[in-house]
Amino acid sequence: MPLILIGVNHRTAPVAVRERMSVADAQLAATLDELKVIAPIDGVALLSTCNRVEVILSAEREDVIEAFVDWLSARGASSRSELEKHLYILRYADVARHLFRVASGLDSMVVGEPQIGGQVRTSFLAAQRSGAIDPLLHRLFEETMRVARKVRSETGIGEHAVSVPYAAVELARKIFGDLHGLQALLLGAGKMSELTAEHLAGFGLKQIFVANRAHERAEEMAARFRGMAIRFEEIDPHLATCDIVIASTAAPHYVVEAQQVERALTARRMRNLFLIDLSVPRNLDPAIAQVDGAYLYNIDDLQQVADSNRELRLQKAEQAEEIVAREVDHFRRRLLMQYPPSWSCRSGWSRSAPRSWRNVSADSVR
């Protein structure tokens, strides 16, 4: 029994095409009901995210492809010849390989991003609720989610931050472990420090203090995080109680000196202090880096962490590809026992398929 995947993604189609074809979560059930009846198929699922729109089918015959290409073309409000430039069609083991890669984050714009795993699961559950899933698709999705979990747990591909704010969060977690119950001090109310504080707050910070020369701006920003605005002159006692300091002021000089940090650390006993300097010129004295128990990172350091994480993810992606290749082989062999003739080749097409589709393989989608 053929397994078919028809779709467009961020590599094959520009956003102008993808946005027209995309299906909102709220419309998913109605769209699946529509898809079930446009051709004689056994099962259908739809994966629609900001990076891709893909229809996954199981059907007795491959000529159903035509009906679905027409449907996508109508949905994208484009001519069929226009759509064909962006479309890919995969069959049999290539469908499994593609879905395994997608759910593992290997086909994402940011390699290893974790959201896609949840999106694949959501599309499976939606299809299941709509009664659009047959045993073959059920098996395919179950395997896809298992492989994605395996890839993530064995390679840790999604564990490393690739943006500056997340790099700060990652480092904070490397120092403190759990961020719940910690306190942060924001010096200045710059955009970058706000973004970084927002990411940190998402990990359960207990309290955020904001100090700014213009006190009204500090109050405004503190209100956003349900924090507390303090006067700039009050930062010394807060250095002793806060665990993370984010500096981003417009001051042309250091606003925190090494001696202040030393005093704060004496009062803090064993507890470390993480200082993030996002300002240019720098606001935190570089000599702070020499103080035991203080960890100082400036904007370049954080960018470097994000860059090296990106490289690390690419290395992990190679390990992940090996796992996917092994799992596709297992999946194909298991299905071979159930559907011997059609699954006997790794990535086949039937003679009934239109000639123009035959040259499309999983590799050409990457």
């Binding site: 064995e154 840790g156 470390n272 992990k316």
Partner: protein, 264 residues
């Protein structure tokens, strides 16, 4: 079959496990770490059987000479490491603990001595308490030192902003320090009780509190250095480089004390 067959089997498993664990530093694959753990557990089972054999044959704890003591301390270290791994999932400790266990068991195999019968005069509960508490305390202290080393490695990596091969495996600095502190605190308490039991036993048998030889000097020096280390944790006067130096001193003192163990 030789009673030492299980000792050599344990050595074989531990060697393979340690090498594979160290290889995972370069492969950065969790599968490799899991394979190493499985091999180490295999070694641990053989190790346990060997210790059981000694107990069954000699009817006393396996602590009457250097090979027995080294093997028992290695066994205790692995038990502590396993318990901490189950509780905290800290894989990085294996890079220090596995080689340590392998090294101690190698000492047991190389310094080959027949299973020794204990002098009947020494068969006292005080002596048994001394050797058991000292061995368990030393095992906990050495595991604590492994976490101190991890903590130091993490501190250096964060300070230098260059990730070493251990970066991914080491948990947060806070977890490393907490585990290091707790293991050292528990180990120190047990070790202190062991030393006190030893002094009492020595007092009863030789009518003197302590007999100052290499073993005793090493043991007391280690006790003082561990006390300083714990004090720096408790007072908050923790300094990375100083802590590392004290830890190295304490480790050397413990090794000297262990090498000083001869027939009891």
């Amino acid at each position: 079959m030789s009673p030492n067959f299980t000792l050599y089997a344990a050595l074989l498993f531990y060697t393979a496990g340690t090498l594979i664990a160290l290889a995972s530093l370069f492969t950065r694959e969790r599968r490799t770490q899991h394979a190493a753990l499985v091999l180490m557990i295999g070694g641990f089972l053989c190790h346990t059987t060997w210790i059981g054999t000694i107990c069954a044959r000699t009817h006393h704890p396996p602590l009457t000479n250097l090979p027995e003591a080294a093997a028992f301390v290695a066994w205790c270290i692995f038990v502590v490491e396993l318990a901490l791994f189950i509780r905290y999932r800290v894989q990085a400790a294996s890079f220090f603990v596995y080689p340590l266990v392998l090294m101690l068991l190698t000492v047991a195999a190389v310094v080959h001595e027949p299973f020794a019968q204990m002098d009947p005069a020494l068969r006292s509960s005080l002596f048994t308490a001394h050797v058991l508490l000292s061995a368990v305390g030393v095992a906990a202290l050495l595991t604590g030192l492994a976490f101190t080393a991890l903590s130091y490695a993490q501190d250096r990596a964060l300070k230098s902003k260059h990730r070493g091969p251990l970066w991914e495996w080491i948990p947060s600095l806070s977890v490393c320090r907490t585990l290091s502190y707790r293991t050292l605190a528990v180990g120190f308490s047990i070790y202190t009780l062991g030393i006190l039991a030893g002094i009492l036993w020595s007092y009863r048998t030789t009518a003197g509190p302590i007999d100052m030889r290499v073993k005793q000097l090493g043991g007391i020096t280690a006790w003082i250095l561990f006390a300083v280390l714990l004090q720096s944790y408790i007072s908050g006067a923790y300094r990375a480089r100083r802590t590392a130096l004290i830890s190295v001193g304490a480790f050397v003192a413990i090794v000297v004390a262990m090498l000083g163990i001869h027939h009891v």
